[in-house]
Point group: C2
Chain length 102, copies 2
DNA sequence: TGATAAAATCGAGATATCTCGATATATGGA
DNA sequence: TCCATATATCGAGATATCTCGATTTTATCA
């Protein structure tokens, strides 16, 4: 968990918004029947909600992934992104330490 | 507490380092006799430790102040900066909410 | 008043981020 | 194999951040 990298990833309102949306799968259209049971949301759904270009969203998800905030899983031609709750906790703890620990 | 503004201020390793240094007054040279009893650290001491230019440090402290992380108090020709612990807590709580609250 | 000292502000060049459209890559289906 | 679809990557222009030296502002002191 590189705090510097993580803060860069979070230093963008839309990327933070995406992380919030991913808290709840029902913020997005229902999964296709063939994806039932799979965790995460595909890039196209995120893009549709964010109203930014496909390439921008792909870049954003890559940043969030490299920072550790999301997990990417490929299923066929789709990539499903979901939150990495463990790393998010780790980041918050690191921030708390850095900002508060004596 | 504007999370966007706060994250921008924190998105710089030296500014975070300064916030850490300010946790403990003894990270800096002792205060001048005429400043005994005053809280905070003057810009020159921070600059000396950070080894960046005076203007850069002044700008940085201004950013940290606008973000709410430090309090500036002028005494004569000196400006003393100290942490705003209450706002730091508020920011951490806001981050926790934004990242974790369902 | 003039000199000095601390801090803030200004202007600018270098570097990074943002966001896009275009293109490349990977996969599944006809 | 060829095509369609989803995603990733590339290249670039616009904008923001970084950091500096120079200047200005504010305050003290002789």
């Amino acid at each position: 968990m590189d705090v510097d990298n993580a803060l860069s990833a979070l230093n963008n309102p839309m990327r933070r918004r995406i992380l919030e949306w991913l808290k709840d799968r029902s913020n997005f259209p229902p999964a296709l029947p063939e994806h039932a049971g799979l965790e995460g949301v595909c890039v196209a759904y995120i893009q549709e909600k964010a109203k930014l270009s496909q390439s921008t969203i792909s870049t954003y998800m890559g940043l969030l992934k490299r920072a550790g905030f999301v997990i990417a899983e490929r299923h066929g031609q789709w990539t499903f992104y979901r939150r990495n709750e463990e790393n998010i906790q780790t980041f918050l703890a690191a921030m708390q330490d850095e900002l508060l620990k004596p």
